[in-house]
Structure formats: C-alpha cells, structure tokens
Symmetry: C2
Subunit: 386 residues, 2 copies
C-alpha cells in the first residue's frame, strides 16, 4: 500500500511537475499526515525536494514538492535512419544534455552504431548530475522490435534483420537497465504521457519519414501484441493496384503516403529531400499536387478509426508537415468512416515536435522507478556499491 501510494505520488510529480502538499492531498484523497510521510520518504531517497512556498496565500502556506532533477535520470536515444539523437532526461522530464551523431554510412553496420551509442553514453554520463541515480538506457528504433528481449527483427531502412541490440548493448555497457522499443511505440507513449494526447486513453500515433509506423495506446496501455510487433499500420494494404512496398506486398498504406509518394506527388525524383520539397508548398491552397496523397491519408486514418475507435490520432513524422496541407482531403475521407467512432476522434499534431520517440524511450525506463520508487533506487544503489 505504501509502495502503491509512493508510486502514485511520484508519477504525479514526474509527469505534472511541482505540486503543493495541499494539492497532493486533494489529488490523491490521502490525508495530510500520510502525504507528509510519503513526501519525506521520497525526499530521503533523493527523488523530490520540498520547499517552503515563495508567495503568501491565505492561511498556512503549503509546502511545495518538486521532482528532484538532480536525483535520477535516464539516458535516452532516438536511433534514426541517418543519425542518433541522445539526451540525458531528468526526473520530471527535463532534457538536460542533447547530442547528435550521424551514421557514417547508409545502412549502417550494427556494430558501428553500437560503438556510437557507447561513445554517446560516455559523453552523456559525464554531463549527468553528479550523485544522481542512473536508471538505465532507453532506445527507440525505426523497426520491428521483439518485446521480450529487445531483438530488432527488422529495420528495413537501416538494413537490419535480427540484430540483438539490447543484448549487445548490455555486453558493452554492463550494469545499465536497457529498454529497446519501436520508435512509434515510444512516440505514442510520450504523446500520451506528456504531449497532445495527454488524458486520452486510446491513441493512434503515426510516425515515420520513409515509411509509416504506428504506436497504439488502448485503455492507457501500449498495444504490444504477441511479440511486440503490433502497430505496423503502414503495412495495411489499402490500394492493391498500388506500387510494390519494401515489405513485399503491393499497395501498403506507406506506399501511398510515405516519403516516396510525397516526393513523387511534388514532382521530385526518388531520393530528393522531402522536407525541402514540402517546405516549398506555402499553404493548403497551393497543395493541389498533394490531393491524392491526402485522400490516401484520409482513407487509412478512416480505417484506423473504424478498427481502434481512438480518442485521438496524432500525425507525427512526415505527416506532421503533410496533414496541415491536406486537411480538407483527410476530413472528406473521414466523413464516411463509421459515425460512432468518427464522432469521438480528433486529429492532432504532436505536442513535442520531433522529440516524441526520445522522450518515450526515456519514459519506458522511468517506468520501473515510478512503479516502485524506493525499491528501484535501493536496488540500483546496491548494485553500484557491489
């Protein structure tokens, strides 16, 4: 029970920021002395800081409780097709130190990338708050990741098949808890916890640049599926007469709305930079050439609305730029989705720019701390001392 209450309390602080003891009492329904005992426990473990409030209110001022940014952190990595973004993410969600490293080559060698992650880890650790607890490493990957052991089954745009990323990273960096997940799954969790889908329990998050990945939150929990491979919504066939997909099928959704389709629609050649081409489209009024892509975006979102009945569909990755240009076409296609689920859904752009996967990777590691704050800290301190 105490563990459960500590967990609730630290979760509120980590996700919501500083709160007064009085507000904690109100939010949790716990009585004042229990709240005091809990925050004292968390403060002793270095996880929160308690301060007298600065302003003067009516009545006795309530002590402010703040997540201790100097108390615990995660090393977060967003492994992308062409580069890796890395950061120290502090308790409370702040991003303390941010680095990028480009891959030396297209279809990078896994060992080269693991070496890069090892170097980035050393740099990040040097930047991290001294005496803080390092909770572990979280890694978002643009591919299909086995949930049980962090094996990357298939990362088509990296050229990877069956790369045991979590295991190899554990060999190189012993002593760190390591979570490896699909980038869209990580992004979905970040938007659910801290972004535009906050408060929504049923979320479809779309991401990806070259392809289209999906992260699905249902009833507040990430959809994992039998092996962790769920959410590959880019590989729904929507146009059987369409073009061949990297996956081998014909007319997958991502062949109609992915980078190549957008480049083609805008008159570019395969390999032309899609972001630059999109940047030249000033507004939806000038987005005529994208109409067909927009229609396909709407057809696929309509499918997902009928299949998942989400509260919100978040268009991340390339779709973040695309959606505002083709919103009319999308709306028109959605108007013929089933009425009941259509009434409940809203379309949204990501709340955290392009950091969703990075933040989600961090949150996947924070979870162990939030689940059992004191136990987790004690365990890590004991291991460090051994």
């Amino acid at each position: 029970m105490r563990r459960h209450n500590l967990s609730r309390l630290l979760r509120i602080l980590h996700l919501g920021g500083p709160v007064s003891r009085a507000d904690i009492t109100r939010l949790t329904g716990l009585n004042r002395s229990t709240v005091g005992a809990l925050t004292t426990d968390l403060a002793r473990a270095g996880l929160v800081v308690e301060r007298d409030p600065v302003g003067r209110g009516v009545g006795r001022p309530s002590i402010m409780v703040t997540p201790n940014e100097a108390g615990a952190f995660v090393l977060a990595f967003d492994l992308r097709v062409e580069r890796t973004i890395a950061a120290v993410v502090l308790l409370g969600g702040g991003v303390a130190s941010r680095r990028e490293a480009r891959h030396a080559e297209h279809d990078p060698d896994p060992d080269a990338v693991l070496g890069q992650l090892e170097r980035l880890t050393a740099e990040l650790l040097a930047d991290a708050p001294p005496d803080a607890v390092c909770l572990g490493m979280g890694l978002a990957i643009p591919g299909v990741v086995r949930h049980s052991d962090g094996l990357v089954r298939f990362a088509p745009n990296m050229g990877w098949v069956d790369v045991p990323v979590a295991a190899r990273l554990a060999d190189r960096l012993p002593g760190h808890a390591i979570t490896v997940g699909n980038d869209a799954d990580m992004g979905a969790m970040a938007e659910h916890l801290r972004g535009v889908a906050r408060g929504s329990q049923n979320v479809v998050f779309l991401a990806g640049q070259v392809g289209v990945g999906g992260g699905i939150i249902l009833g507040g929990r990430l959809m994992v599926g039998a092996g962790g491979y769920g959410g590959e919504v880019g590989h729904m066939v929507v146009n059987p007469r369409g073009s061949r997909c990297r996956c081998g099928r014909r007319g997958c959704w991502e062949t109609e709305i992915g980078e190549e389709a957008v480049v083609r629609a805008l008159g570019g050649r395969p390999g032309d930079p899609v972001d630059a081409l999109l940047a030249e489209v000033p507004s939806a009024a000038e987005a005529g050439p994208l109409a067909e892509v927009g229609r396909w975006l709407g057809v696929g979102i309509g499918n997902l609305v009928n299949v998942f009945n989400p509260d919100v569909v978040v268009c991340g990755g390339l779709l973040r730029k695309l959606l505002p240009l083709v919103a009319d076409q999308v709306r028109r296609e959605l108007e013929v989705a089933l009425q009941a689920p259509r009434e409940q859904v809203r379309l949204a752009l990501p709340g955290m720019d392009r950091d969703a996967a990075l933040i989600g990777a961090a949150e996947s590691v924070f979870e162990a701390l939030l689940d059992d704050p004191l136990g987790c800290v004690e365990r890590i301190r004991a291991e460090a001392a051994a």
Copy 2:
C-alpha cells in the same frame, strides 16, 4: 486478499471445471488450509459443491471441488439478424435450456424484439434451477454498441440507429443486471475463455454473416476503444475500386468477403441463401470460383496480422465455412505479411461452433461474480429480499 483469492479460485472452477483441493493448492500456490477455508466459503455461498473423490489414489484422497451448476446462472441472448437464440448458462459454463425465436419481419421493430426478449426471459426463468442466483442478462447484438450504457448506435442489418437497448430492457425487466455488447466482441471473449483461443492473450476473432465484425483481445483484455466501437475490421478499405459498402465507403473488406461477395462468386443472385450455395462446394479443389474472395480474405487477415500481431485469428461466422475452401489463397497472401508477426500467428476455426456470441454474452455477466464471488451473491440476494 481473501476476495482476490476467492475470485481466482472460482474463475479456475468456472472455466476449467472440477478440480481437487490438492490441484487447487498446486495451481494457486496457496497452502492447504487457506484453500480449504476458501472452498468452504464458496460452498456456503452455494457456488461450489465439495465431494469426496470416487476413485482411490495413493495417499489420502483429495476432496473434489465442482462449480455448482444449481447455484448461479445467467440469461444469455444472441440477437441475430433473423432470429434470437436464448439460453440459461449455468455456473461452470453449461448451457441448460436453449430457445430460438424468429423475428416477425426484416428490419424488426426494436419494441417487437424487446417484447420477444421479455417472453424468452420468462420462459428461461421458468426453466432455471430453483433457488439459484440469477446473475443477470447478457445480450450480443450485431451492431455497434456504446460501452457505457448499452446504446445500440448502429445495427445496419437490423435497420437500427441509436436504440437504447439496455435501458429499455431494464425498464421491462427491472432487477436484472444487463450487459449489451457487440456480437463479435462477445464471441472473441468466448473463444478466448473457452474455445480455440484459450490460452492466447492476443486474439482477432472474425464473425458475421452479412457483414464482417471483429472482436479483438489484446493482452487478455477485450479492446474497447474510446466508446466501445473498436474492432470494426469489416470497414477497413482494402479495395478502393471495389463496390459501395452499406457504411457509405467503397471497397470495405466486407464488400469483398461478406455474404454478398460469396453469393456473387458462386453465381447466385443477391438474396440467395449463402449457406446453401457454400454447401454445394464439396472441397477446396472445387472452390475455384471462390479464389478471388479467398485472396481478399488473405489480404485483410494480413493487414490485421501486421496491425495487431495476434497469436491467433479465429474465422467465425460465414468465414468458418469459407476458410477451409480458400485456405491456399489465404496462405499465399499471408506469406507476404511482415515476417515477425506472421511467424507468431495461427489461423483457427471457432471452438464452439456458432455459440460463441451466446457464451460470450453469458461470460460478460459472470464477470461480476468471478470478480467478487461472495459480494456479488450477497448483493443480489439482498436486492431480491428487498
């Protein structure tokens, strides 16, 4: 804790049948005296019967614990397009009394159907074990049902829009707990708990005759979505050049694999009885005319495998007869689904013939008993006495 253990124990018995006290000890990890106290509590509440074992084993024979079929029951209804199936489903899952009533007309008037349900209820109650606790009514409906209050938003093949079935049934039959759900959702739960998907935590259950509905189990829980409308997999667009769907879109999956498509493929006219036409196809070797339907079945299942990463896809309803005839086409299409989820999935036919929705409707009501056995029985007995 006691409630939790009573719940575990009754669930084992309800879903698994008679077990010896010794096996309960083994299955639950509880010690012998705790198990004895729990089974005694359940026996006093009329939920289990304890008997000395008949045979003679080595050592002291262990008392057999059996779910008490005469202790509690549910009134279950499978409302279909042309008729209603009704039954008393006993604790332990036995079907005690089974009735059918045809609707008087196509697109039946909701009040006529509610009257029919009321009459069936009176008949079932007369058949039910005397002194047993009636846990309530469970109703499976071929339509989109709002989870919060059992409002039928849309049942296209009944011609129903926004019919408050649960509320109106509660007016007619006060004092009964009432659960109303989508038939494919109910069927999915039944196959997960008692059928071919037993032990599988991630299940796609396909059902339907005229259309194609889906019930999805993820991580052992029914996918509900924001309003209870999730799982409408028949309304994924897979063939945008296909025919117009009842829902208003073009080329939904059910236009390619539903009753009309099968009738057309077999040379019948709209309205011809699909079951009779299918019965004339002796084997897969003679199922050439169904090849295209089979291909679409495979395309759609491939989409669902990529999106949900299920352990099993159960082909119920019309697909139960169709799948064996077109298994080759389906397999060929599945071979190009993503490798990782494809490796994990098996295709199956329902384990409970056409009773899945009926049994699932019953299980949706048993859930309250299984969650809190003694509390539920006490509550219902107190209400009956008041």
